[in-house]
């Protein structure tokens, strides 16, 4: 019995000293300015951590994603952005993998051909803004509970924005919702020029269930003109 226990401990020791492998579908990813890029780690490791080496690259906290080994990155300007990812089973991780994000016309370092062209980098969903509008002042407990539903993180992971604004704050953005309809969600989409946005769905009641949150991006009507909210 003692021998068996010692063997198990030894095996654990070997595992800790030999970090698991970590790969990505591609180590150079092309993206557009403001686009959300999902990085999907392939590893048996228990965790994956990410660190940006280039200022300006935003790295979404993996712990909020459904698969915390993945992450989502975005950059507001053209350029070449470098980041590191590493994995492990214990606190100490293995050697990092370098990933390059080429945004717009940024020049990327030469990168080996993707060994598996059938598995290209994922294409992110076009971003929507889910503008949650509520009465001015402190939030009601029911509102805070609704905004705490974990399904909102799924929308963010898909590249969408979720924004809480009071009625007065929303009016400053050009979104006016009748007081009787609050709290509500107005869905906006950024125009191609990146300088304006349009309402793609007028105010709907704030969903109070996870299923309702996940339904928000579905069955969106075409762009509506200003004021149809």
């Amino acid at each position: 019995m003692r021998t068996a226990i010692l063997s198990l401990l030894l095996a654990a020791g070997v595992a800790a000293a030999d970090p698991p492998p970590l790969t990505f579908p591609a180590t150079t990813v092309k993206a557009q300015k403001g686009e959300f890029v999902v990085l999907r780690a392939e590893t048996p490791g228990k965790w994956v951590r990410y660190k940006s080496l280039t200022p300006g690259l935003s790295v979404f906290p993996s712990s909020e994603l459904k698969n915390p080994k993945n992450t989502v990155v975005t950059a507001p300007a053209d350029g070449t952005y470098r980041m590191l990812a590493w994995t492990g089973n214990a606190e100490e991780g293995g050697d990092p993998v370098e990933i390059t994000i080429v945004v717009g016309g940024g020049k990327a370092d030469p990168d080996p051909e993707d060994p598996d062209p059938k598995d290209p980098p994922p294409v992110p969903t076009k971003s929507l803004y889910f503008l949650v509008v509520r009465p001015d002042g402190p939030a009601s407990p029911a509102f805070t509970r609704a905004m705490g539903l974990p399904e909102w993180a799924n929308l963010r992971a898909a590249g969408h924005f979720v924004k809480d604004r009071t009625a007065t704050e929303a009016a400053g953005l050009g979104v006016v919702v009748p007081a009787s309809a609050l709290p509500a969600v107005v869905t906006l989409r950024e125009a191609a020029d990146g300088k304006t946005s349009s309402v793609v769905r007028p105010a709907v009641p704030l969903p109070m269930t996870g299923a309702g949150v996940l339904d928000l991006p579905k069955d969106l009507p075409k762009d509506l003109p200003k004021g149809v909210n």
Partner: protein, 312 residues
């Protein structure tokens, strides 16, 4: 005569634990971590900023404070220097930024301590000197668990200068209960963030002072934190709610900086807290809890970029 300020007299001290006992109560150290949802700000992994605590001194060798202690100075003439023999300052310091995330809200953020309250728990202009010391050491958020005495125009002018520097000043509202005419000064000053104390069920703590200007509320009953000489002790008071809010706002400020967003100053910060609190007790802005409890989840949603204006 200079104003006399001290720890509110009915601060409640609870049991004491040695270092070895503490692990047994994992998850219970500061119930506000879970009830308020501090994790939503922590998960954004902001780069730490320096925080300042103005109090009775600090045990800088304590297991949850030694690693991130950046400096301290005594302004009271204590024979013990900046070291804490009272217990109040070490407890408050632990709550702001103790390295154990069960204890410290902005866990591990570097801190400086200005000893402006003497060993007996009172102080005068030493408190203003201690605040400036912390600011000069780089502190961006100051936790002030003290109040009492009359309004001082000279002090108001000092607070204005600190506001102009962009420093966030968090104060305790006082422990005189619901039948008081107003909360303690300086907390009720328009230039400061005034904090009330809550029970675990988010109702107002029995001792928490009532007043017309409460900016937010924090966990203030049965809070475990560091004790001078090692170990931990439980305390209750607006003195405990204040470092919680200060730690939370330090986390938030660090997130704003990471996102490259502007840092609001005095009145803007008050407005932000008003709109990013969750109502409790009497609906609306009431005399016991102000707008309610400051809500990390709602603060994180301010970090999302606004959509561009609607197409004309």
């Amino acid at each position: 005569m200079e104003p006399i300020h001290g720890i509110p007299p009915d601060l409640i001290r609870g049991p004491v634990l040695g270092p070895g006992d503490f692990l047994a109560m994992a998850g219970e150290a500061n119930w506000g971590m879970d009830v308020f949802g501090v994790a939503s700000l922590r998960s954004l992994n902001p780069d730490p900023i320096t925080v300042g605590i103005i109090d009775t001194g600090v045990d800088d060798t304590h297991s949850v404070l030694a690693a991130n202690f950046k400096g301290a100075k005594d302004f009271t003439g204590s024979s013990r220097g900046y070291r804490d023999v009272n217990g109040h300052g070490t407890h408050c310091s632990g709550t702001v930024c103790g390295t154990d995330p069960q204890i410290g809200v902005a866990a591990g953020f570097p801190f400086v301590h200005g000893k402006g309250l003497g060993d007996g728990g009172s102080g005068g202009n030493s408190l203003i000197d201690a605040m400036w010391y912390c600011i000069e050491q780089g502190a961006e958020v100051l936790s002030n668990s003290w109040g009492g005495g009359g309004r001082s125009a000279t002090w108001e002018a000092e607070f204005q200068k600190m506001n102009d520097r962009g420093v966030w000043l968090i104060f305790a509202g006082g422990n005189s209960g619901p039948n008081t005419g107003d909360t303690d000064w300086p907390g009720r000053s328009e230039k400061l963030i005034n904090v009330a104390a809550l029970n675990r069920d988010l109702s107002p703590a029995s001792f928490s002072s009532a007043g017309d200007k409460i900016d937010t509320s924090g966990p203030g009953v049965g809070i475990w934190s560091a004790r001078p000489g090692g170990g931990f002790q439980q305390m209750s008071g607006t003195s405990m709610a204040t470092p919680f809010v200060a730690g939370l706002l330090a986390l938030y400020r660090a997130c704003l900086k990471k996102a490259g967003l502007p840092i609001p100053k005095g009145p803007e910060l008050r407005s932000l807290l008003f709109n990013r609190s969750t109502d409790t007790h009497t609906p609306g802005d009431d005399r016991r809890t102000g707008p309610g409890w400051v809500t990390p989840l709602l603060l994180t949603l301010t970090l999302t970029p606004d959509p561009p204006p609607i197409r004309g």
